[in-house]
C-alpha cells in the first residue's frame, strides 16, 4: 500500500522519469503502430525492432560510450538497412515478402547478439547495462534520456498529426494516392522512419525484442472498439499509455521485474479484454446476441403454439393444459416451462394449476408471428416460385426477424392477401 502511495504521488523524481518515459514511448509507439497495422505491415515493425540491436552495439563499439545520441544514431542506421534489405530481397529474388522479413530479421538480430556477446566478453567497464537494451529496464531511464525521448515522441506526434489524412489515404487506397500524385514512396519512407524512431525511443525501457508488440498490440485492441480511424488512434494511444504506466508501477514495486515484458503483458491483457468484451466486435457480446435471438425464437414459437391450438378450436380466449402446450414431462419440457414463465413475466400469458391462456397483448403478439409466417410463405410461393409444401421451414426462421417496415412492404407487394398458400387465414393485427 505504501508503495502505491509513493508511486502515485510522483514525489520521487525517479518515479517521475520512469513514468513519463514509459508513457511517452508507449503512446508514440501506439500512434505509429496504428498506421502500420492499417497498412498491414505489422511484421515490418517486428523486423525493425529486432534490427536496431546491431546498430546499438556497433555504435557502442565505435564511440565507447552508452551515450543515447550515439545509440539512436546506430539504431537508426541498421533499422534502415534492414528495411532496404527486405525491399531488395523481395524485388530481386524469388523469395516472398514474409520470408524476406523473417530472413532479414534473424540475420540482423543474430549479428546484434554476436556483437553484444563480444562486447560483454571484452571486459570494457562502460558496457555494463548494455544488455538492458534487449529486454529493457525502465529504472535505467535518467533525466537526460527523458529529454531526448520527449523530443522524439513530440516529433512522432506532430508528424503523424500533420500527415494523418495522407497516411490514412495510403493505408486505404494506395493506387488512388499514387494517381493523385502523392509521393507515396517518400511517404512510406517517412512512416518507416517514424517506426524506427518509435522503436528507438523504446530501447532503454522496453528493449528491442518486445518493442514490436508495443507497436501492434494497442492499435489491434483499439480496432475492436471503434470504426472511426481518429478514435482508433486515440484509443490506441490511451491503451499504450496505460500499459506503460502499469509496467512502470510493477517494476517500481518489484525492482527485479523487467519493464518491457510487463508492458507487453499489460497491453496483451487489454487486447484480450477487447477481444472478448468489446461491445460490437467482441466475442462475449456476440454470444450474448445469439443467446438473446434464441430466446426470442423460443418465446415466439410458444406463442404460436397457443395460436394454433386456439385456431383448432376456433376460440383464442380459453386456457390450455400445460402438456398440450409443451409436451409431456420430460427433459426438454423443463426448458419450455421456463419459457412459459418468461412469457408470464412479460404479461403475455396467465396461468395456474398447469393451465395457461393468452392475455390480449399475448394474443396480438402471437397473431403477429403467425401472420408474418404466412405472409412470408405466400411471398415465397408467389415471387420465388417455391412449391407450397417447401416454404414452411424457411418461414419458421424469417417470421422472427421481419421488421414492421418489411411487413408493410410484403403486404403491399402481395396485394393485402387474406389467405396463405395452404389456404389458411392470415390473421390481421
Amino acid at each position: 500500500m505504501e508503495n502505491v502511495i509513493n508511486f502515485f504521488s510522483f514525489e520521487d523524481p525517479n518515479v517521475r522519469y520512469v513514468v513519463l518515459g514509459t508513457v511517452l514511448l508507449s503512446a508514440s509507439a501506439a500512434m505509429v503502430g496504428s498506421f502500420i497495422l492499417l497498412q498491414k505491415k505489422a511484421l515490418i515493425g517486428d523486423a525493425v525492432a529486432h534490427s536496431v540491436l546491431p546498430g546499438i552495439c556497433a555504435a557502442f563499439l565505435f564511440s565507447g560510450t552508452k551515450d543515447i545520441v550515439w545509440m539512436l544514431f546506430g539504431a537508426f542506421i541498421t533499422g534502415w538497412l534492414a528495411l532496404v534489405g527486405i525491399d531488395f530481397v523481395t524485388k530481386y529474388s524469388k523469395i516472398k515478402k514474409d520470408a524476406a522479413i523473417g530472413l532479414v530479421l534473424s540475420v540482423f538480430f543474430g549479428v546484434g547478439i554476436v556483437l553484444m556477446t563480444y562486447i560483454q566478453q571484452s571486459g570494457n567497464a562502460a558496457q555494463s547495462g548494455l544488455d538492458n537494451f534487449i529486454f529493457g529496464k525502465a529504472a535505467a531511464l535518467i533525466a537526460d534520456d527523458l529529454l531526448i525521448f520527449s523530443i522524439l515522441a513530440m516529433i512522432i506526434l506532430i508528424t503523424i498529426s500533420l500527415f494523418f489524412k495522407t497516411f490514412t489515404l495510403i493505408a486505404f487506397d494506395r493506387p488512388f494516392a499514387e494517381a493523385i500524385g502523392y509521393p507515396v514512396h517518400r511517404l512510406d519512407l517517412l512512416l518507416t522512419s517514424l517506426t524506427v524512431l518509435a522503436v528507438v525511443t523504446g530501447i532503454t525501457a522496453v528493449g528491442v525484442v518486445l518493442m514490436a508488440a508495443m507497436l501492434i498490440t494497442p492499435p489491434a485492441a483499439a480496432r475492436y472498439w471503434t470504426d472511426n480511424i481518429r478514435h482508433m488512434v486515440l484509443i490506441s494511444v490511451l491503451f499504450g499509455a496505460f500499459a506503460g504506466l502499469s509496467a512502470a508501477f510493477v517494476s517500481y514495486v518489484a525492482p527485479a521485474m523487467p519493464t518491457g515484458p510487463w508492458m507487453v503483458v499489460a497491453s496483451s491483457g487489454i487486447a484480450f479484454f477487447s477481444f472478448f468484451l468489446a461491445p460490437k466486435r467482441g466475442m462475449l457480446p456476440k454470444l450474448y446476441r445469439q443467446h438473446a435471438n434464441r430466446q426470442v425464437i423460443a418465446e415466439e414459437n410458444l406463442l404460436k403454439r397457443f395460436y394454433h391450438l386456439g385456431e383448432a378450436r376456433s376460440d383464442f380466449t380459453g386456457s390450455h393444459v400445460e402438456h398440450t402446450l409443451i409436451g409431456p414431462d420430460n427433459f426438454g419440457s423443463t426448458k419450455s416451462r421456463s419459457v412459459l414463465r418468461r412469457l408470464r413475466r412479460k404479461g403475455w400469458v396467465t396461468g395456474h394449476d398447469k393451465r395457461w391462456q393468452l392475455t390480449d397483448e399475448g394474443h396480438a403478439k402471437a397473431a403477429k408471428v403467425v401472420r408474418l409466417h404466412r405472409l412470408w410463405e405466400l411471398y415465397l410461393t408467389k415471387y420465388m416460385a417455391i412449391a407450397a409444401d417447401h416454404v414452411h421451414d424457411d418461414a419458421e426462421t424469417i417470421e422472427h426477424i421481419l421488421t414492421p417496415e418489411l411487413e408493410r412492404e410484403l403486404e403491399q407487394q402481395l396485394g393485402y392477401p387474406d389467405r396463405d398458400p395452404h389456404d389458411t387465414v392470415i390473421p390481421k393485427v
Binding site: F172, P175, M232
Partner: protein
Amino acid sequence: MIVQAKEPILEVHDLTVSYARKPVLWGIDFTLPAGSIAGIVGPNGAGKSTLLKAVMGLVPVASGYVKLFDQPLQAVRNRVSYVPQRESVDWDFPVSVLDVVLMGRYEKLGLLRNPSNADRALALDCLEKMGMAAFARRQISQLSGGQQQRVFLARALAQEADIYFMDEPFAGVDAATEQAIISLLKDMADARKTIVVVHHDLESARSYFDWIVLLNMRLVAVGPTAQVFTNETIQQAYGGRLNLLSQVGDLLEKREFPSREK
C-alpha cells in the same frame, strides 16, 4: 481498324508494358476524342486494367508515352480522375462514407491541409448525386457492392476532373446501380467530360459506349462504336489467334530478354 480522333484529349503512343519481362501490352497506339464515353473491351487477361494503370503512371512502361490534353500526366493531374477496381481496397477499413468521398479533394488540398467545410459540402453534394447522401456517416463495411461502387464514383466526382478513368465500375453491382452509373456517365459526357471505362460485357458495351477500344494484348480496333465494333473485330479480339503473341511473351520471360533493345 484504327480510327484516330480529330482533336484528341488522350493520346497513347506505342505503349508496351511488361510484368517481369513478359509483355502484357504490345505497342498500343490510339487517340480518344473529348466528350466521349469510351469502353476498353477485351477478353480476360487482355491487359485492360493494365492499360488504365499505365495511363495513370501506376505501372512502369517498357516503351512509349501517354499524353493527356497534349501534355504529360504530371502537368495535368488535377484534371484527371482514376477510379480503381472496387475489390482493390479493404472495405473493413475504419472510415466513413464521407471520409472516402473527401479523399477526392486530397489532390487539391495537398499533403498537409485538411478538408474545409466547402470540401465537405461538395462531397455531400457528390454523394447526393449518387443517391448515397443518407449513408454519409455510415462506416464503409456496411455497404453493399453496388453502394461501394457509388461511393467510389462520388469520390471521383469530388475530384472535379475533366477526364475519368474507371476500372470495371459495372463489375458486381446490382441492376439499379448499373443504370444509375450509366446515366451519370451520360450526364458527365453532356458536360464535355471524357470517360474511359474498362468493361468486359460485350452485350452492354454496344449501348453504353460511343467509342470503343478493343484490346487483346495488342490493339485490335479503336473508333466510334458503330464503325469498329463489328463481328469481325470482336472475332479478332476474342478468337484464339493470338496464341503466337503469348508464346513469344513467354519466351521473352524465360530467356530474360528485354522487350526493347535499348
